[in-house]
Structure formats: structure tokens, C-alpha cells
Amino acid sequence: MATTPAALPDTRAKFIQRVRTGDPIAHTITGMAAASILAITGLLLYHLWAGSGLPRETFGWSFVTGSAWDPVAEKFGALPFIFGTVVTSIVALLVAVPVGLGAAIFLAELAPRRASDALTFMIELLAAVPSVIYGLLGIFLLVPFLQTSVVPALTATLGFLPIFQGQFLGVSIFSASMVLAIMIVPFIVSVSREVLLAVPQDQREAALALGSTRWESTWKVVVPYALRGILGSVFLALARALGETMAVTMVIGNKPQLSSSLLAPGYSIAAVIANEFAEASSQMHQQVLVELGLVLFALTVLINGAARLMIYSYKGAEK
């Protein structure tokens, strides 16, 4: 829309002509829609902050370090929830990342393209399964399976470790971690595979020409080349696991305690909000739950933000 230098016509007529093309109007309306994203996110942050003023003033930082939770006596310590959220997510990653990366390598490097596409399509469908359905399967399929097969084997072989001691009642930090692992694996597979497929063919050929085996070219050349993208996918998966609510609520046991054993029941931030928010017993109780929401928000935004920057820079390097 550069102005023509030729004449100096009536500016008002020119303005009308510009408006009649519709461009400024379309620009403004769509721009407002884009700006509303910023407004919504700002409002979200404002509500989380303003809605948790009471406990922030009363407890300060002791809120995140305290471990007593008794809404009736107005005792609120968030540590068991933060602990549960972080531990379940990390254990889930420890299981899901090797398996997911292995599958991604197979799909990107070994499988014929057509079979790889078909399998990836199926695996991506897994990512679309609603979390409440994972919870349902967790209660009736996974927990009994863990109880009859996996946990006895674990305690028999690794029972000397403190993390596998104590009685297993089914619902536990361990069960929640396994459900989370199953939920994030498709995500890791699909993103990592895409990143691996984007590695230039020359890299593989050069490694093979130098005498490396297929695995050596994959592990020492292709994977390091794609590392930043893979890490990005892991971080995104971590952020999802941290915020996952329903599936975790249904199998974690909902018991606010700190336990060194993974086999013991626990609680997570998202789960306590889901369970107690609707029936909060007091103003303070509700605001405490909002503050937990704020903690969760901060945690996921931090990790998401880092992951996005990692993936952006990776995409930038590709261009």
C-alpha cells in the first residue's frame, strides 16, 4: 500500500478507496483475533494470581515446602503433590523415552517407508485416545496386570531397592507412572521420527562409506544430528505428563504422602485440583487449589517454553 508520489489527491478520497478494498478492515479484525490470544493468556495468568492471594500471603514459600494437608484444620502443604507430579512424570519419561526413541529409530531408519507410514498413523491414533479412557483402562486392565505379573517380578529381582519396597495395593505412584508412559510414548515416537527423517541422507551415506554398521551410523551420526529436536519432543512430553489429570487421578491412589517407595499411593497437583476444587470447604481451601494451579501452570510453561525454543532453533537450523 505504498502511496504513489505522482499527485497529491484529496487524502480523504484516497482513504475511502483504501477502505473499500477491505484490506485495512480485514487486517484490523484478524489482528484483533490474534491479539485476543495474548489477552486470554494474560487474563488466565491474572486469575491464577488474583485467585490465590490469600494463601500466598498467609503461607508464603512455606506452602511449597510443607507436607501436611488437612483442609478442615486449614493446614496446607503442597510438597506431597509436587512430589507426586514430578516423580510420576520422571519415571514415565524413563520408561517412555528409550522405548519411544527405539520405535522412532526403527520407523525412520529401518522400516520401509510405506509400512512406517502405516504404523505411524496407528501410533498417532494412540495419541488421540482421551485421557479418561486411559484412566478407565488403567483401573481395570493395567493395575490388575501390574499386580499379578509386573510387581511380583520387580520385587523379586529389585526388591532390595527402597523404591520397590512395601506393600503394593494396585493404585500407586508406579501405576500412575506406567499409565503416563503409555500416554506419552506415541508423542515421542511421532515427533522423534519426523526429526530423524529430516536428517540429510548424506550423513548416513558418509558414515556407512567410512565403514560403520547400520547401528553405528544411526547412533553416532543420525541421532546426534537430530538430538535437539528429539530433546524438544522429550520436553514437550514431560510438560504433558506433568499436567495430565484424569488418568493419573484414577490410578495414583489420591493419598497426600511422601514415600520413598514407588509402590505406595501418592497424589499429584492436577489430581488434587480435580478431586477437591468443586467441593472446596472454605475460601482458603479453594484459593490454595488455585495456587496449586498456578504452580502447575508455571511448571509447564517453563518446560514448554524451553522446548519450544529448542524446536524453533532446530527448525531454524534446518532452513
Partner: protein
């Protein structure tokens, strides 16, 4: 030419392991689908679609009100989320450049990553608290907010995929920029944008956490838009953790119905787009 035995063994072992990983992940899908289909199909009957939930402890009943409730909540969500996301996407693809667009894009991705339970708190503060009641509308607002980021990014992506030559052709014929966008570019990207919308709907249709304290749930028909309503995912949750075997069975039936809907829409939309990896979400 000879490789050491160790290197060959490692090669064979690791490559086999990657195959095992793939089998494991694909196997999980089959187990999930199989188990759910078996339990769901055997628990499903016509009453499920036509009857109201039976009182606690009584056998029978259905989830007709929850099915309708889910539909109403999704309609509100769509009316709120799609226009904002779509127009914002048009802006980023066609008008936006520079700092502002970069910030919007980044914030959109962050908003997409906010846990759904936190969105639930937000919708509660935004709608339920001022109106002093749980409602279909509040649930719709929660899901609508969740739809915005994906609607925006998919719209932007499919608009960007429209070849520049089409735009240049329209402009060369004297069309203004906005006319080019609305009569040439958007129609060219229509099927992609619509498929993205279906994927987006399928995703929020299964969301439970943001509905727990917005739509809340009930056991009867919910009149209008400003009363609490049952939804399918929330019923699955309540019935799954229930102590009554009959309610557990109905949870399976509801889970089966929900999964068929969600995966059916997913498969159809992906087929329409062509092989598009989970772009909206990544």
C-alpha cells in the same frame, strides 16, 4: 571388509531392539482397542443412547442426557474457539510479520501446553464464579479456550501451504489483498482447515478435567444453556471409579462410544488431509 564380531553383534542386537520397541508400542494400541471394544460392545445396548441414568444401585439406564450434554458443550466451544482461532490464523499467515506475530505464535504454543485442569480453573473464575452456577455455557467456554490455539495454528499452516502463484494470479487480475485471501486462498485451503477443525473437536470432545467444575454433571436432562449438565467423558470418570459393577459396565460402554467417535473422526480427518503428522499438537 571384516567387521569385528562385537560390532556385528551390537548392530544386530540394537536393530532388533528397535523392532521390539515398535512392536510394543503398536501392540499397546491393539490391546487397548481390543479390550475396550470387547468390554464396551458387550455392555452397549439401545438404552444407553435413549435412557437417563438409573438411580444409584439400580441396574439399567443409559446416558442419553450426557450424549446431548457433550454435544451442547462442544457447540458452545466451537462457536467461541473457532472464529478467534481461524481469524487469528488468517492474520498470522497473511498479514502478520515481525515481532507481534512471533509473540502471538509463541504465546499460542504456550497456551496450547497449559494443562487442561488449569483451563478449568480459569473458566471457573471467568464464568462460574460471576454467574454463581455451573453450566453448559461454562463448560463450553473451557473447551473453547482449549480449541483456540490449535484452530489458529492449523489455519495458519494450511493457508501457508497455498501456493504463492494463486495469490499472484488473483492480485494480477486486480483483486485487493483481502479479496484474494477470502475468495482465493481460504477456499483453496478449505479442506485442510475443515479437517483440522474436526481433529480439534475430537481432541476436546474427550476432555474431562476442565468440565469437572464447569459443566459439573447431573443425572437428568439439562434445560437450556445455563444449567449444569452431564457430559460423556465426565460420566465415564464417575462410573469408572464407582463401586457398582453395573456403573462400571456403563463406563465401558461410554468409553467405547467415545473412542469410536474420536478415533473415527481422527482417521477420517487425517485421511482427508493426507499423511499429516500430529502437527496441530506439536
Amino acid at each position: 571388509m571384516t567387521l569385528s564380531f562385537r560390532r556385528r553383534a551390537v548392530n544386530a542386537l540394537m536393530l532388533t531392539l528397535t523392532g521390539v520397541c515398535t512392536t510394543l508400542v503398536a501392540g499397546i494400541l491393539l490391546v487397548i482397542l481390543g479390550y475396550l471394544a470387547w468390554n464396551g460392545a458387550t455392555s452397549l445396548n439401545l438404552n444407553f443412547f435413549t435412557k437417563l441414568p438409573a438411580p444409584v444401585g439400580e441396574a439399567g439406564g443409559g446416558m442419553a442426557n450426557a450424549i446431548l450434554g457433550s454435544g451442547k458443550v462442544l457447540l458452545v466451544a466451537m462457536l467461541l474457539g473457532v472464529p478467534i482461532g481461524f481469524l487469528g490464523g488468517v492474520y498470522l499467515a497473511e498479514f502478520g510479520a515481525g515481532m507481534f506475530s512471533g509473540v502471538v505464535r509463541y504465546v499460542t504454543d504456550l497456551l496450547n501446553g497449559v494443562p487442561s485442569i488449569v483451563i478449568g480453573i480459569f473458566a471457573y473464575a471467568l464464568v462460574v464464579q460471576p454467574m454463581k452456577r455451573h453450566s453448559t455455557f461454562a463448560g463450553g467456554v473451557a473447551l473453547g479456550i482449549m480449541m483456540i490455539p490449535i484452530a489458529l495454528r492449523t489455519t495458519e499452516e494450511f493457508l501457508r501451504a497455498v501456493p504463492v502463484s494463486l495469490r499472484e494470479g488473483a492480485m494480477a487480475l486486480g483483486a485487493s489483498k483481502s479479496r484474494t485471501i477470502f475468495t482465493i486462498v481460504i477456499p483453496a485451503a478449505k479442506s485442510g482447515i475443515l479437517s483440522g477443525l474436526m481433529l480439534n473437536l475430537a481432541r476436546v470432545a474427550g476432555e474431562t478435567a476442565p468440565l469437572l467444575f464447569t459443566a459439573f454433571g447431573n443425572t437428568f436432562w439439562s434445560p437450556g444453556w445455563l444449567n449444569e449438565t452431564a457430559t460423556l467423558p465426565q460420566m465415564i470418570y464417575n462410573y469408572a471409579i464407582s463401586a457398582y459393577a453395573d456403573q462400571n459396565r456403563q463406563a465401558w460402554a461410554a468409553g467405547f462410544v467415545l473412542l469410536v467417535l474420536v478415533l473415527g473422526v481422527n482417521a477420517a480427518a487425517r485421511f482427508a488431509i493426507g499423511r499429516t503428522p500430529a502437527r496441530g499438537r506439536s
